[in-house]
């Protein structure tokens, strides 16, 4: 352990805890070897052969989103923002997930599209596809870098491992099993991770509630923390009245429309899981099933974060978050510290394994999506147009390894950033919002031209990046691009998303009006008004239809928003 040790750890793992972690690591690498023979064609490597049921695809879809950032980062956000963190699980997810399942999936699935850039090529042209693929690849590398950094940071702070050792060990392990079987092994490990996460964190808020007294006690003490900590919407008329420092407009348009619709309806990393479903009904059900898990995860994660917040404010509890090296509270330490507080040996091994699983499966998801987009949309479409099936699979394996190498470099960049969620939302506001503006407009407006799409996306992306840079380099304050004074980092992210969305959409519409559109017959199946929506061939009972399950999910969404209004 000498070469691994960096500092005195907060958690001392017993041999039994190490054995649980070892069982998981050996298991997933062994699984990669087992699955290798099932991933020989490009379709099998990149799309897992399109054989999955709605449940497997739905669990994998949700798992691809349940990375460590989602769980550890948002638990930290709940400490910082109180119940407002639930917006990320409700308005920031559910409407977009249901929209994807009900309206967008028939487009994506019936066209047998292998990637979102693939759709852009069919709808617009090659240059739009390449631009989107390049931006998406960049995002995957950046997000992977954050994941790796987070894993290494947790290992360093809690277990005393050296940061560099953790980054490289995780990267090598993920490269090993994803490069063997591509999306199949990524999906398998994601589904396994899904259950490990629930096993590792489900009891955490329960123990927290018992420790504080009861859920009612936690709620009562949350209301005493400060104004706006215990209400989702009632405190959003005035940005000074809530810890997010945002108004309802920024939450709905920035998070709900700009970021959430961008992420859930156009991010290939997660949509790729729905593409692996065996038929259209299963593909449509995939994000709808995912929306239930998303809300459940929100309850668990936000509850855990709120317990940590309440304990932190109670000086007699002995619970304090860690301090950052550069000063300030390290909110991301909330969940691991709760584990250390309640989990004895054995259980803490499971908790640590769940955290490692989150990070490794998140990496696997990022890398399988990166390699698919790189191989199909950059390598096959630009570099080597006549690539054979074997060459594509080989390139898939090579790009997985190369992508992880770049992600390691990204981890070093992420190490210098503030909280991971703030950084993640910053990336999303720059990269996703302009893309979704172009894709959604392209689907509903047949007059939109390839030039309009390309320049709208490019200038939207560039302007968002410039706004981010100006704020990052402190040329302007975080309120500069927001219509409110005193806006925080997160509010700046949401408003950047709104502006870049509007710039991309405005330019796309403006340029399209002055350039030549494609002929209607070329757009059949690609634009809503020119497409006869194909319904599922199989007749199923009403309670098995995507519409029914989406309606129940929407009702739950409304209920949670009203209950915690």
């Amino acid at each position: 352990m000498g070469c691994l040790a960096a500092a005195e750890p907060l958690i001392r793992l017993a041999p039994v805890d190490w054995s649980i972690l070892l069982v998981y690591l050996v298991f997933i690498v062994g699984l990669g070897f087992y699955l290798k023979k099932y991933a020989r064609t490009d379709d099998e490597f990149f799309l897992a052969g399109r054989k999955n049921s709605a449940w497997v695809a739905g669990v994998a879809f949700m798992s691809a989103n349940m990375g460590a950032m989602e769980v550890i980062g948002y638990a930290g956000s709940a400490v910082k923002y109180g119940i407002h963190c639930a917006h990320f699980y409700l308005i920031g997810a559910v409407p977009a997930m249901l929209f994807l399942g009900l309206f967008m999936m028939p487009f994506y699935y019936s066209g047998r599209i292998k990637s979102i850039p693939g759709y852009l090529k069919e709808r617009f042209d090659e240059k739009t596809r390449v631009l989107n693929a390049a931006i998406f690849s960049l995002m995957m590398i950046l997000v992977s870098g954050i994941s790796l950094h987070l894993l290494a940071m947790i290992m360093e702070v809690f277990l005393g491992w050296k940061w560099e050792v953790s980054v490289w060990v995780a990267a090598v392990l993920v490269a090993l099993y994803v490069s063997m079987a591509g999306l199949i092994s990524a999906i398998f490990t994601e589904v396994i991770q899904f259950f490990l996460i629930w096993a590792g964190i489900l009891i955490l808020p329960v123990l927290g509630f018992i420790d504080v007294g009861s859920p009612a006690d936690v709620w009562a003490r949350l209301q005493q923390v400060g104004p706006g900590y215990a209400s989702l919407w009632a405190s959003t008329a005035d940005p000074a009245a809530n810890p997010l420092h945002m108004t309802w407009m920024g939450i709905i348009f920035g998070l709900g429309l700009g970021v959430a619709f961008g992420y859930w309806t156009t991010d290939f990393l997660i949509i790729q899981r729905a593409f692996s479903a065996r038929d259209l009904r299963s593909a449509r059900l995939t994000p709808i099933i995912g929306s239930y898990f998303k809300m459940l995860l929100g309850i668990v994660v936000v509850s855990a974060g709120i317990v940590a917040l309440v304990l932190m404010k109670d000086h007699g509890s002995g619970f304090q978050l860690l301090e950052k090296a550069k000063g300030g509270v390290d909110y991301d330490s909330a969940l691991p510290l709760l584990m250390a507080r309640y989990f004895p040996r054995g259980l803490i091994g499971l908790g640590v394994t769940a955290v490692v699983a989150m990070l490794m499966a998140g990496q696997a998801g990022n890398m399988s999506a990166f390699s698919a987009v790189w191989t199909y949309d950059l390598y096959k479409s630009v570099i080597h147009k006549g690539a054979t099936n074997e060459q594509l699979v080989l390139m898939g394996r090579i790009s997985t390894v190369a992508g992880l190498g770049l992600a390691v470099a990204g981890a070093y960049v992420a190490r210098s950033m503030p909280t991971v969620i703030d950084y993640l939302q910053a990336i999303a506001s720059v990269i996703l919002a302009p893309g979704v503006a172009v894709i959604l407009l392209g689907m509903i407006w047949k007059r939109m031209t390839p030039h309009g799409a390309f320049w709208g996306m490019l200038i939207g992306f560039s302007s968002a990046f410039m706004m981010f840079l100006m704020q990052k380099l402190e040329w302007v304050g975080t309120s500069f691009f927001t219509p409110i004074h005193g806006a925080g980092f997160m509010a700046a992210n949401f408003w950047r998303a709104i502006w870049s969305w509007l710039i991309a959409a405005g330019l796309a519409v403006g340029i399209s009006l002055f350039t030549k559109p494609r002929k209607d017959e070329e757009l059949v199946g690609l634009v809503w008004s020119l497409t006869r929506i194909v319904h599922e061939k199989e007749k199923v009972a009403w309670y098995r239809t995507p519409g029914f399950w989406a309606a129940v999910s929407a009702a739950l969404f409304v209920f949670f928003n009203l209950y915690f209004w």
């Binding site: 069982v23 298991f27 699984l31 020989r40 054989k51 490990l196 123990l207 309640y342 040996r345 499971l350």
Partner: protein, 78 residues
């Protein structure tokens, strides 16, 4: 694809089988440690140790894992 490959590839175990295997092993270890913690409490006491969460939660995971394992041990997917 030749016949040998076809035979090799046939009968991929469903994902639920693997989930069941892993959860059963981990549940067994956690529950076993829970019994040991009850008999011989660790020196570093965590909050609510007296609830023996490790034991009953380990048993829940073990049970869930065994259900998935036995329900899928003879299944395969094409």
């Amino acid at each position: 694809m030749n016949g040998v490959e076809n035979t090799e590839r046939r009968g991929m175990r469903p994902i639920w089988f693997f989930v069941g295997c892993l959860l059963a092993v981990i549940g067994f270890i956690v529950a076993g440690t829970g019994i040991y913690n009850w008999v011989s409490p660790p020196q570093t006491r965590t909050r609510l140790l007296e609830l023996h969460t490790d034991l009953w939660w380990g048993l829940v995971i073990l049970f869930f894992g065994l259900v998935l394992f036995f329900a899928n041990r003879n299944s395969s997917v094409e």
